[in-house]
């Protein structure tokens, strides 16, 4: 497929000059995204490499018969390495309109947003021809290895396509299992530690929550932390150290980690993590017990008896990035469920976005725009923090890509990545019998000191209304951390 646009930051001129449909211009471009793109066979336009495509090989996105003339094997090869455009590709003809429409108006810095919004609109309007054209265009421009716009375009296009073909669930499952296959303790640990080293995205929540937990635990002797988080216990070493050093009589700590992914990969990983935690606690001199509970499915169906809480212990519940996995209508129930355990403190760390995409129509468009905004913020933050060529960033981007697939491609009831704003969580908490606990001055100081250790651009915001504190990235709130106690 010929590249109508070679959108490359270095070649602005080429943007306009290559618009004419060239006959058989040989493909000598070596830009990343196009190169990589041609690597992938057509079916892979919308999937990432990690796919185990044996399960989804039945999908032929672009080349389904009713849209395009069917291709046989030769053409596949041809497409891959051909230096001439396959003449059968009718897209040339009808994409002219779309090309003309956008040729002058796409801005170099956020063209993905415009195109993707248009595509979403076309999807919502059921305008399939326009949608095809836009998707074709996006396909040309997208790549997981390019600039932020290319990357966003890649993941969102994939998700839009899944939404269009109603294959979101299976695609998401495929992507998740593919990544779970390669997930080991080392890879997870290295990824997380590297991320925490270069960006305060997760450590912000950790420091704030630990501070609230330490304040709540002050003077207690038997502590029990119930951890629902997506950071694989990287939060706890610092808390263990704080427990060991700041209190005169070291209390006894039980840590119960509840995993929600349910995939096989996490069992071994969690076991290893447990070993490390126990060893570390021994090193710190903190009497420590570690326990993992594997829960699959919606958290609101979690059986609290599995926590094995004792009457004499002081309970803290920590939700770090996991409340979003509960479906909207079960969130309040979940919160009241935990209210009934009567914890001393309950901490929440969540990302500040409203990903309610509804099922269709205006709600979908609004939610889609918000997703675009949010993931752009995230990708930009990653781009800032990591060096140019970073495995870890790529892994994180892929993970985000799966989240995009989940929010945009899947039905709401199955979705596990629907973030909600702090304000809405605040309302839910108030409604479930919790009151906000102010994060102490020391905690805020700790957070500010933490941010000072990173590159600039990060700050803390304490809202006037509501509870908790926000991590701000260049004046955009990105992460919200809050502490609650039952009233």
């Amino acid at each position: 497929m010929d590249t109508m646009f070679t959108l490359n930051q270095c070649h602005h001129q080429s943007f306009n000059s290559t618009i004419t449909t060239s006959g058989s211009s040989s493909r000598s471009s070596t830009e990343h995204h196009t190169t990589h793109h041609h690597h992938q066979p057509p079916q892979q336009c919308f999937f990432m490499e990690e796919d185990n495509l044996s399960s989804s090989s039945s999908i032929h996105p672009y080349y389904s018969p009713n849209q395009f003339p069917s291709h046989d094997n030769n053409n596949f090869h041809h497409h891959l390495i051909s230096t001439s455009p396959p003449p059968q590709l009718k897209s040339h003809a009808f994409s002219q309109d779309v090309v003309r429409e956008f040729s002058d108006s796409l801005s170099p810095n956020c063209w993905s947003r415009e195109l993707l919004s248009e595509a979403a609109r076309a999807l919502a309007d059921n305008n399939s021809s326009r949608l095809q054209q836009l998707m074709w265009m996006l396909n040309e421009l997208s790549s997981p290895y390019g600039e932020i716009d290319s990357k966003l375009s890649f993941y969102f296009l994939q998700a839009l396509f899944a939404r269009m073909t109603e294959s979101g669930n299976s695609t998401y499952r495929t992507l998740s299992s593919a990544s779970a296959k390669t997930c080991t303790f080392e890879s997870t640990r290295n990824l997380l530690l590297k991320f925490q080293e270069v960006s305060p995205w997760t450590t912000f929540g950790h420091v704030a929550s630990n501070s609230a937990i330490m304040d709540a635990f002050n003077g207690e002797t038997k502590l029990h932390i119930v951890d629902f988080s997506n950071t694989y216990c990287t939060q706890w070493p610092n808390l263990l150290e704080a427990i060991a050093t700041r209190t005169d009589d070291t209390p006894h700590l039980r840590l119960t980690v509840v995993t929600t992914t349910g995939s096989n990969g996490t069992e071994t990983v969690m076991q290893e993590i447990g070993n490390r935690m126990e060893k570390f606690a021994r090193l710190m001199g903190v009497p420590f017990k570690f326990h993992v509970v594997h829960h699959s499915g919606d958290l609101s169906y979690f059986n609290l008896n599995q926590l094995d809480t004792k009457t004499d212990e002081c309970i803290a519940i920590n939700f770090n990035g996991t409340l979003r996995s509960v479906s909207y209508d079960r969130r309040d129930y979940l919160l009241s469920m935990f209210r009934n355990i009567n914890p001393k403190v309950l901490t929440i760390v969540e990302e500040e976005a409203d990903m309610d995409v509804g099922t269709d129509g205006v709600k979908f468009l609004k939610g889609f725009e918000e997703c675009l905004r949010w993931f752009r913020v995230y990708f930009e933050a990653l781009d800032d923090s990591f060096p140019k060529t970073s495995n870890e960033r790529l892994m994180l981007e892929r993970e985000a890509g799966r989240a995009v697939m989940d929010v945009v491609g899947r039905r709401p009831e199955c979705s596990v990545e629907r973030r909600e704003t702090a304000e809405r969580w605040w309302r839910r908490m108030r409604g479930s019998g919790f009151d906000g606990v102010v994060i102490s001055e020391e905690g805020c100081d700790d957070v500010r000191a933490l941010l000072r250790r990173y590159k600039e651009g990060w700050s803390v915001l304490q809202p006037e209304m509501g509870a908790g504190i926000f991590l701000m990235r260049r004046d955009t709130p990105v992460v919200w951390a809050s502490a609650w106690k039952p009233v």
Binding site: S26, S28, T30, T34, T35, H36, H38, H39, Q40, P41, Q44, E49, E50, D51, N52, L53, S57, F76, H77, L80, I81, T83, Y145, A178, T182, T184, E186, R189, N190, L193, K194, Q196, T203, P237, N238, L240, E241, A244, T245, D248, T250, I273, N275, R276, M277, K279, F280, R282, L283, G285, P387, T389, N391, E392, M395, E442, D445, D446, R448, R452
Partner: protein, 519 residues
């Protein structure tokens, strides 16, 4: 803050009693004439004849406690007050202070819940009691900007500011941290920690143990002896940054053994078989221990030491018992050597050695940037000459090759980067250096592409394996990979369709050509 708690209690101890003195102070203040010379009481035992003064909190916190009786002007120092009093032209009698009898005074803390409220635990120094009161019961007004630690006493704060931020934390695996929190998190998950047994350790980790008084947290004998586990599979741990070079440059045989053992141990965490064939093959060719060392050496940031590392590794291999020594016996050896240390708190030889010999790495990162490692590999490769045998490498390659399939077809498509051998070899290294991820991706890529293109299982052909055993399946991963690195201008898309055989042979030839370079 905790450090100062220690020092303050140390100070307090110097003037308080831990047990009751001979009942002298229990009845309350008693005035007696003491000899003029200042004698310091033993720590923990205030002078039983001393006058116990109980000052109120306000007085304690007051900055101007010397007040002129004539005009009520306050002074911080007694000398200043005396100087001021001269100005009042007092008659001779009143000039004398009534302090001809200098009583020894001890002070109690006004805070009732405090230990030092009891006269038997009074502090002998007024400044001491003031500082104690501020620290324990006072408001912390002084704050460190860097780490947000708070202090009540200004001198504590000043002392802290001198050292804050300058302290660097070093993990046993050798990584250096400037931030305490990232050090702690790393420490908890570090492989070096995982290798420890449940023995108690003597302290060597800087802060963690200094904070501990009550709990006997002794420093890790990093690994030292007991590694009963079999030697690591020949896989490097990319997560372990161990500046082996410094360690192994020691000439002491037993210590070197201990250290090597340590390094080996540090690498024990089994990684999924990395396609970093070179180092693995090295390991297979030399003793497992050295292999472990070299691989971890690969990951080091410091290229200049690499040649030294390997030289010393080979030197030290000669120190080791011959490579026929079974792993079990080797461990036993080490156990015997360090067994005596097991239950003592004597400094572990390996640990002390390690801390003294470790070079300071400059970055706390576990992941050297690819280009550094790349050069590294080049250097490494050259010095590997004596130890590597092509046979060993090929054997390794054969093993590795079994995991990747679809090689021939991809070759056929000409997707293998056969066009430019030079970048390809470096890309091999790059890929190797990136460790797991690339291999994984490579495998997956090859699987995906093959599934699609072939519409059926291809016949894996061992002859198409390239030299490093990565197979051409990984080569497609290359291009994608290279794109990630952003450094490659490999023109994969432009490669023409090649016949199956030609492509295959070409790659094989290339690999053969590469051999000398690698060796």
């Amino acid at each position: 803050m905790v450090d100062f708690e220690n020092s303050s209690s140390a100070m307090a101890v110097s003037a308080t009693s831990t047990e009751c003195s001979s009942g002298g102070n229990q009845q309350g203040p008693r005035a007696e004439i003491q000899p003029m010379k200042k004698k310091r009481n033993l720590p923990g035992m205030p002078d039983p004849d001393a006058e116990v003064i109980a000052l109120s909190p306000t007085t304690l916190l007051a900055t101007n406690r010397f007040v002129c009786e004539i005009c009520n002007k306050g002074f911080q120092r007694d000398q200043n007050l005396q100087l001021h009093r001269r100005g009042h032209n007092l008659p001779w009698k009143l000039k004398q202070r009534d302090g001809k009898e200098i009583r020894k005074r001890v002070y109690v803390c006004p805070e009732k819940t405090c230990v030092h409220h009891d006269p038997s635990r009074a502090l002998g120094d007024l400044t001491g009691i003031k500082k104690h009161f501020s620290r324990k019961h006072g408001e912390k007004k002084w704050k460190c900007e860097r780490c947000s630690k708070k202090y009540a006493v200004q001198s504590d704060w000043k002392a802290h500011m001198k050292t804050c931020g300058t302290k660097e934390y070093r993990c046993d695996c050798g990584t250096l941290f400037s931030r305490r929190d990232s050090f702690i998190t790393h420490r908890a998950f570090c492989d070096a920690l995982a290798q420890e047994s449940a023995r108690s350790h003597t302290q060597n980790v800087p802060n963690i143990n200094s904070d501990h008084q009550t709990h006997v947290v002794e420093a890790e004998k990093v690994d030292a002896a007991v590694v009963i586990s079999p030697p690591p599979p020949l896989t490097p741990s990319t997560g372990v940054l161990s500046p082996v070079q410094s360690v192994l440059s020691s000439d002491l045989p037993e210590k070197a053994m201990g250290m090597i053992q340590h390094q080996k141990v540090a690498v024990v965490e089994t990684e999924p078989p990395a396609e970093t064939c070179l180092p693995s093959a090295t390991a297979s060719a030399t003793t497992t221990v050295s292999g472990g060392s070299t691989t971890s050496g690969n990951n080091n940031n410091n290229p200049t030491n690499s040649t030294g590392v390997f030289a010393s590794i080979f030197a030290s291999s000669s120190l080791l018992p011959s490579s026929q020594l079974s792993p079990a016996t080797y461990s036993n050896l080490i156990c015997d050597v360090t067994g005596a240390d097991r239950n003592t708190t004597v400094e572990p030889m390996s640990l002390s050695l390690s801390s003294s010999l470790y070079h300071s790495s400059t970055t706390p990162s576990l992941f050297p940037p690819p280009d550094q490692t790349l050069q590294h590999h080049r250097q490494y490769v050259h010095t590997q000459q004596p130890a590597l045998s092509a046979t060993a490498l090929l054997q390794k390659a054969a093993q590795m090759g079994a995991t990747s399939s679809n090689t021939s077809f991809l070759h056929a498509l000409g997707l293998a980067p056969t066009t430019s051998p030079a970048p390809a070899s470096t890309d091999h290294y790059q890929e190797a250096s990136m460790g797991q991820w690339s291999n994984v991706q490579a495998k997956q890529e090859s699987n995906c592409i093959s599934d699609h293109l072939l519409m059926g299982p291809p016949a894996p052909s061992p002859t198409t394996l390239d030299f490093l055993g990565l197979g051409t399946g990984s080569s497609s991963g290359y291009s994608a990979f290279l794109n990630t690195i952003g450094g490659s201008r490999l023109n994969v898309a432009g490669v023409q369709f090649e016949g199956v055989n030609t492509g295959r042979d070409k790659d094989w030839d290339d690999s053969i050509d590469k051999k000398p370079r690698l060796l």
